[in-house]
Symmetry: C2
Subunit: 321 residues, 2 copies
Amino acid sequence: MAVYTEVSDEELTRFVAGYDIGAVLACKGIAEGVENTNYLLRTEKGSFILTLYEKRVRREDLPFFLDLMEHLAGRGVSCPLPVRRRDGAALGELAGRPAAIITFLEGVWIRRPHVEHCAAVGRALAAMHLAALDYAGRRPNALSVPGWGPLFAQAEGRADTVQPGLDAAVREELAFHAAHWPGELPVGTIHADLFPDNVFFLRGRFSGLIDFYFACTDILAYDVAICLNAWCFEPDQAYNATKGRALLAGYRSVRPLSEAEIAALPVLARGAALRFLLTRLVDWLNVPPGALVKPKDPVEYLKKLRFHQRVAGAAEYGLDA
Amino acid sequence: MAVYTEVSDEELTRFVAGYDIGAVLACKGIAEGVENTNYLLRTEKGSFILTLYEKRVRREDLPFFLDLMEHLAGRGVSCPLPVRRRDGAALGELAGRPAAIITFLEGVWIRRPHVEHCAAVGRALAAMHLAALDYAGRRPNALSVPGWGPLFAQAEGRADTVQPGLDAAVREELAFHAAHWPGELPVGTIHADLFPDNVFFLRGRFSGLIDFYFACTDILAYDVAICLNAWCFEPDQAYNATKGRALLAGYRSVRPLSEAEIAALPVLARGAALRFLLTRLVDWLNVPPGALVKPKDPVEYLKKLRFHQRVAGAAEYGLDA
């Protein structure tokens, strides 16, 4: 939740004049999205999201994200479509930041997902994976195994202030993944951050995916593992196998998982839990003074990690035979 | 800026079903408004603002605010109109909070007001004062002279940590107002918080007023003094008499100011500066851990207060003869 960058009316008017979307009728900062500044923009032509990309997002990655949305929308995946400027560019500059206008996607995100929502997100994720198979863009995942060590270095020595024993637990887990991370699974474009707030529903039905700013080229089944972590645990961090079964069955009804992908799920799920544990830990320990963002609890992901460490095999996630 | 209260999709659907505005298409937390939780709600019938009233707003005051908006809208003042539920009530309950849906007012607020904007806000304020003359609701101003002492008590002894000498400066100013606050000026319903973010413009023209949650029954010219503080100082806290002249002329073109009101302006402007100095000071010293709101600088209003203390007479505000 954040409006990091304020935009003056003069700057906004000038920026929007570069598009064929009519005059500005309203522009309100949205209290959603942690990485960037988002405004809900209403113009004479409709509603849009105006995003100013803050420093966490690398400018050179923006074409990958914007082209991906355009690619997916063109393949029938319901997601925001970047609006091109009169000069043809999807990316502009506003208030000293790279900025883009994307179409407004109707729907609400589900605060407390039910089993049906998990099934829908599984289907949607698989459909996204298939639609992106012929996407030419490539972006290495900076938040996969090679990135976790340097990330942890930003928290090292201080992890135990969050939870006693956390430092050693993370070191062991890093060593485990250095040895066991799967190398031969199908790779493609993954969303990499498909949490409930990035999936919209309208009257109970899936209406679209948003926020592709962590999308990257990585193991497709790793995206499934991220979703198992994000969608299938209860508030007390107990794993809900009924939700897991629904999510996996939904995914497999659109894109079958190979035996190797299924066998790798426990490791991938551990890695996914570690990845969010690490970013949350670093954010938790580095809240800037005057921050407008309340950091998310890293311990939640330690509990999820503990579950995955105890899993005997992929069947425990709720896989049907 | 804040979303204090999260609303689940089930709660939202149930709440909106109490209104005749169709089904929910989208609902996004807005990063504006410090006191309450605001969502931009889109339904099949259009756009609305959904407000959940947080603890700073007293539940028993809500009918005063909502009825005032309805009264003003009925008198041609451009402002949000509370939407009544099927059962006729303007106020409901959502997520354990009093909640209302109001119409969406188009326009943007002006980050850097020009002289014309000041003229427009003067005219709009006077029009609001006239339109509210026959409003039956009464609400004492909890943030006028009798309230300032108790408010300062929440900061006392700590004011000097913000700025050396502030404690004594506030004490002197409190004593001054106890002796000099005018008692015989015209009273009515005032907005009491008409800062730039509460006045919308569309293509350079005034489009409406929002946020009546500080409105109360008090000296009308005090509302003018609040606006002089809020609109007519430059970022370096220098008073801009051209803007002041425009604001006052705009106001007087719609509602004339009496000689007594004009003579009282310096005292009223000092009081207005003190009032915002005090609330900002208390907020500054009492930021709760994990707060999502960045407190506003109280020293800005100390500088404004210093200006008003040195004013020899109302003419210095830019009054035309």
